[in-house]
């Protein structure tokens, strides 16, 4: 199974606000998290909702976010399940 991201890698959630349905919770948009694992591959919910005849099938990852990054406080972690096109690699220099 081809998956672009590996466990432990840092990724940023694309800060988009699409017109239609998406499964990116608003509170993680633009945030940096850590790949926990690849869960498998599923059709992209956004394209299913938009009625695309053959929706893209992509890896879905468990991504962990530190509460301090999300909310500026708290010692817990929140994991969110994200399709591959929702995330992008964070470069070593943090950009």
């Amino acid at each position: 199974m081809r998956a672009d991201f590996r466990a432990g890698e840092r990724v940023r959630v694309r800060a988009v606000d699409p017109e239609g349905h998406t499964r990116v919770p608003r509170y993680v948009r633009g945030q940096v998290g850590r790949i926990v694992e690849c869960q498998g591959r599923w059709a992209l919910a956004d394209e299913i909702a938009a009625g695309v005849a053959e929706p893209r099938v992509e890896p879905v990852y468990t991504v962990a976010f530190a509460a301090g990054d999300l909310w500026g406080e708290g010692g817990h972690e929140v994991t969110v399940d994200l399709w591959e096109s929702y995330i992008e690699r964070v470069r070593e220099d943090g950009a």
Binding site: D17, T22, A67, G75, E77, L82
Partner: protein
């Protein structure tokens, strides 16, 4: 548009769809009722409790369950294949130093087959918005006070996986049988808003 659903327009849409389907003779009310009944038949937290009791008494099963829950479930007579497609299940284990709690911030995703229909608070905006931000305070309101050094992970099921918590086995239950142990496990324990 945000990633949120509101239940009212969806419910109205479902009713219109039902009316069109039955009006066109595609399905009957009886067939729809039977399909719903089949989905909910046997859906109960008793199922999750049985899985937990087996994991507490069989270390090999516990390992297999945590590594690949879908592959381990048939050992106790369950599967995640009750819906349109098999759903992935991830079981997360509470320990002396880690605590897990489940939420679906976008809507109300929940492993219905293993936990039964979800409680109304699980679908409330208050729970969904607060537990990701201040889980320790929310859990305290449920009556669960966790030590300061317990690491908390909140699992937001935003895609195709469903989650279940494997609670800690209570102290002093060494001699109990599997059914006796299963009887101790609550729905809240399987969601992570209570200890067992």
């Amino acid at each position: 548009m945000s990633g949120e659903h509101t239940s009212t327009p969806v419910a109205a849409r479902v009713r219109r769809l039902e009316a069109r389907l039955t009006g066109a003779g595609v399905v009957t009310e009886e067939q729809l009722d039977a399909a719903l009944a089949a989905m909910l038949e046997g859906a109960s937290p008793v199922n999750g409790a049985r899985i937990v009791a087996r994991a507490w008494t069989d270390p090999g099963f516990r390992e297999r369950l945590l590594a690949d829950a879908n592959a381990a479930l048939p050992e106790v007579g369950f599967s995640m294949a009750g819906g349109i497609q098999e759903q992935r299940l991830k079981v997360v284990e509470n320990t002396a130093t880690t605590h897990h709690v489940l939420v679906c911030t976008l809507c109300s995703c929940y492993p219905i087959g293993l936990l039964g229909p979800s409680p109304s608070w699980y679908k409330s905006e208050a729970y969904r918005s607060r537990v990701v931000r201040e889980p320790r305070a929310v859990l305290a309101e449920f009556g669960l006070e966790l030590p300061d050094d317990t690491t908390i992970t909140v699992w937001d099921s935003s895609a195709e996986s469903r989650y279940m918590v494997l609670p800690r086995r209570p102290e002093g239950t060494g001699g109990r049988s599997e059914p006796e142990l299963a009887a101790l496990v609550t729905r809240e324990g399987l969601i992570g808003t209570a200890a067992v």
